[in-house]
Amino acid sequence: MNYMAAQNEVQRDSSDRPTRVVIIGGGPVGMRLANDLAEVGGKFSVTVFSDEDAIPYNRARLSQLLAGQIERQGLDIALVETSFCRLIHRAIVSVDPVERYIIDSAGVQHQYDELVFATGARAFVPSIPGVSLSGVFQFRSLRNTENLLARKVRTRHVVVVGGGLLGVETAVAMNRFQSRVSLVHQSDRLLNRQIDQEASKRLERTLESQGISVFLGKGVRALEGKDDRVQSVRLRDGLQIECDTVILCCGSSPNIEIARQANIRVNRGIVVTDDLRTSAANVYAIGECCEHADQVYGLISPGYDQAKVLANRLQGGDAVYTGSIPQSLLKVLDFPLQTFGEPVDFVRSPYIRETVVKDDSSYLKVVTNQGRILGAIGVGSNEEFDSLYDLYKRSQKLSWIRRASLRLFGRAWPLKDQDNPANWSDNRMVCQCQQVTLQSINQALETGATTLSCLGSSTSAGITCGSCQPILAQILSQSTGKKTVLEPEPLFKSSLAVSIVAALLAVFMLLIPGLQVGDSITDPALLESIWNDKFWKQVTGFSLLGVTAMGLLVSLRKRLKWLSVGGFAYWRFAHVGLGALCAAVLILHTGLHTGENLNRWLVLNFITVLMLGALTSSVIAFSHQFVGRRQQLVRKSWNWLHIIATWPLPMLLIAHIITVYKY
């Protein structure tokens, strides 16, 4: 002992001696730190103590091993074996932070310069009767997993106690054709720390569709058995579930006993500051055993974050650990579920908004406080989840416009990488008019389509309204490697000219004051005999109605297949022509008077529709000059503005006609 202490003194004096870092715990976090330090090279001499016999493995993926989704080798954490780094399979029995040494289970004393607790946690065993019966398992370590794998073959009915992340994964992993699995959870929703009622319902449905019975809001009172074998689980409400295997997944408790014995300050975990120091000098703690800012993380990613910070610290850096984003991902199940932040059980405040986007196959919820993201839940394939996570990590705000866009269109960012067709999934609809998917287009490309017209004739994509042509062109140029030039729309010049006429007429309507009745009956004013005449007023009025109705046919042409006579461009030209005609008849009907009240709304609506229509038509006329999704979006959004503006028109028209004849 004295010798070693003396040696220690000698070695500490020489400045080129590597720093001796001792890491207690060979779990994924401890190994991450060891590897990070080992990569630096000669500066550190790292010793890792692991109380497990196995090669260090990634505990977080044990459930996948249990499910048979990966092999044992897939879990291995390779230790960068250098002369500066070694792994010792022994437990540590005591620590002396004053004299800076530890004693392992073989009684050997190891001096250290820096000591790191990465002791992790162990499964929490609730104090209910019967937990020690045989057939009751925990699920934490590789050894547990091996036991369960053996058990999985024979069991007929497994009850998993605890519906947290691990419980759900375990239930799925234990689920086989011959055995029944029941999942008992105290809270009224699964994964209650991470997800809300809606996501829980979806998860529950998925689990039950796989044959797993889910008991929510039910605590376990006792495990009952005969001859030291578990036979049933009794719930608090008296329900009894027959079983032969019980797996306890009730959370974990940090391993802090050694630290406590060494008079290091502990609470729920080993208390650390922002630089991950414990109360003892040169002693650190990371991973599930540590408690930072009153928070003990039961997940793996905060441990990795801490390992990274500590690696920097030990190298003399000034990194600080400011807490981790609780982030989780449900593995095992074919049910993509991700969460980050605090999407549930957050502190209520009047500024908190929950934005929910959902359909049958997916669910996304973002919780924001005055634009600041608190957390999110994503179920199914969510294009926006990763972007939201990015935003959250960078502490950027999610503006109300993005939220509105998310709520309405399911997308907060209309333009981004996903706009590249190369990133799209096969069943994505490219041509909305004819319901052509990317898959059919790719098939057409494989069978040798090289031009837009080939694609059109083989898939009928892009030949109706043509608004997806820029996308088709983009797909074509990506597949052929050549720049595809769009053909201009037929009649685009005439369309442009006519829409300019329509726009001009609409502007006249708006800017020129209403016509007056002439001062003499022998010399009537311009158009007076039309707009100021009861008969002609009706003729022009009903003409206007007819022209408007015919204009609306274009919308049907897009949606009804039997109407697809003639190229859409010609229909569009007719539509634009009707627009111009409409503007002209409107002037005849009103004598340039914009009217009052309801009539004014109607006239202004007409003018808005005409102006937006003319603008849309102009955009379309020039659209062949641009390729790609952005162009399509510009074209689409103008078109949508035109359509949205048209929506009130029929109703205002009806109201106008009713009032004219009612009064």
Partner: protein, 443 residues
């Protein structure tokens, strides 16, 4: 797509439909359906749609009946020179083809304020041309006259030509411009009213608060006619009404009330208006009024304090309490006002003063004999102050000619500047109608 497009559109449409449905059928105010402001004659009642549009989805007859409902009596009294029957006569079918004068709205279209001319006319002023194109051939004097001068010069009026018959012009020509000894007739209609069903008692609410009112009442003509508190305040039944409305006055003063609700002062209270409208107030009117009077409401009691009816106050002070246009403001310095002041000062005989009411609420001598012994005829006050103003030539016979010559009256009423300064001076315009009539007569 994460949202159902159909649902969004459906909700959007439903919201708009329900909004429109509300505006069309359920909204308390139909203002949003108003297609344009009504003319000065009807703007007070423009939101009482059913007053004119009596039935939904009716034909043009509905509107024609509505016009006639209020105006036919007046047209008949004025011996309408273009009555409807003239145009429904098959012999005039050709004329009716040119101008469908069987319907009021042919010339008086409503809700088109920007095209409305004087007298609520919405056609060109030379409308007479349609039928009277050849008038110059028969009348030398009219040769070469443009057709927009027919009405504007104070010669012709499409409906009411009583003041302008040729024989009338000749008969009344050549008199001095003013009769200095003229005395206006004295209204006597109220004197012959009896208190209908008077209880003869005023004791019902004999409270200290009413002491002054009781004193006033004792001196009033109501007391003289034995009209007591309950006759007005409990006219409708047992319940005491703190402020009796027009209907209470109407019980006795039926003619006056009819006049009141026929003119712009009381038209909102006319029985033809089914909607419950508030009485008219200056803030809703289109003339100029005193700021302090903007929120006043017009009922009988606005001009006549019911407890001490004072005809002198009602003749000028009540009017000028609200009206503040140029013509009204100029009254106090006008020759008419000087006559009134002399009468008030008792240096001139009774009824020689000329008040606002003298012209706008003229005393009308009726044929009806109210006292058989003295053969006294009924003389009442026309409470429709608008009656003599559409157009103002209607004032010549009952008002101006009480004191002035015909020629002077015609000229004065044609001179807008003179009207604005309230007849302070002599007319600078001259209408040749009397000259032409005399010339034709002497030939």
């Amino acid at each position: 797509m994460r949202f159902s497009a159909l649902k969004v559109w459906l909700v959007f449409s439903l919201i708009m439909l329900s909004g429109l449905g509300y505006l069309l059928f359920a909204a308390p105010s139909k203002e949003s359906l108003l297609i344009g402001q009504a003319t000065h004659g009807h703007h007070q009642i423009e939101l009482a749609c059913e007053a004119c549009h009596t039935t939904s989805f009716g034909g043009p007859e509905i509107l024609q009946n509505a016009c006639a409902g209020c105006h036919q009596q007046e047209l008949d009294a004025a011996h309408d020179s273009h009555p409807r029957k003239k145009f429904t006569d098959p012999r005039n079918a050709e004329l009716a083809e040119r101008l469908d004068a069987t319907k009021c709205v042919t010339c008086h279209a409503e809700h088109q304020l920007e095209q409305t001319r004087d007298m609520g006319v919405t056609v060109a002023e030379d409308v007479c041309f349609h039928c009277h194109e050849a008038v110059g051939e028969h009348r030398e004097s009219h040769e070469g006259l443009s057709f927009d001068t027919c009405a504007t010069s104070g010669c012709h009026n499409f409906h009411d030509n009583r003041a302008l018959y040729e024989s009338f012009l000749v008969k009344n020509s050549g008199k001095p411009w003013v009769d200095y000894k003229a005395v206006l007739p004295l209204a006597n209609s109220a004197r012959f009213l009896s208190a209908k069903g008077s209880s003869g008692t005023y004791e019902k609410n004999d409270h200290q608060d009413y002491a002054q009112i009781k004193l006033d009442w004792f001196e009033s003509s109501h007391a003289g006619a034995a009209v007591t508190c309950v006759d007005c305040h409990q006219a409708a039944g047992d319940a005491w009404v703190e402020q009796p409305n027009v209907r209470a006055c109407e019980t006795c003063h039926a003619d006056e009330t009819y006049g009141f609700v026929s003119g712009k002062h009381g038209m909102r209270l006319a029985p033809a208006i089914k909607e419950q409208l508030e009485p008219m107030s200056p803030e809703q009117a289109r003339l100029d009024f005193k700021d302090s009077a903007q929120d006043h409401q017009l009922t009988c009691a606005s001009c006549h304090d019911p407890h001490k009816p004072d005809l002198q106050k009602a003749a000028v002070d009540s009017c000028l309490g609200c009206h503040a246009d140029q013509h009204s403001l100029a009254y106090q310095t006008s020759p008419h006002a000087r006559l009134w002041q002399a009468e008030l000062d008792q240096v001139a005989p009774e009824n020689t003063g000329v008040t606002c009411a003298s012209c706008h609420m003229p005393t009308i001598e009726h044929k009806q004999i109210v006292d058989k012994e003295t053969r006294l005829r009924k003389v009442s006050i026309e409470h429709n102050q608008s009656a003599t103003l559409r157009p103002n030539e209607k004032m010549i016979r009952p008002v101006c000619m009480q004191c002035h010559s015909l020629e002077f009256s015609i000229d004065a009423l044609a001179d807008e500047a003179l009207i604005l300064n309230n007849f302070n001076g002599k007319p600078s315009k001259h209408v040749e109608s009397v000259d032409w009539a005399l010339k034709r007569e002497t030939r």
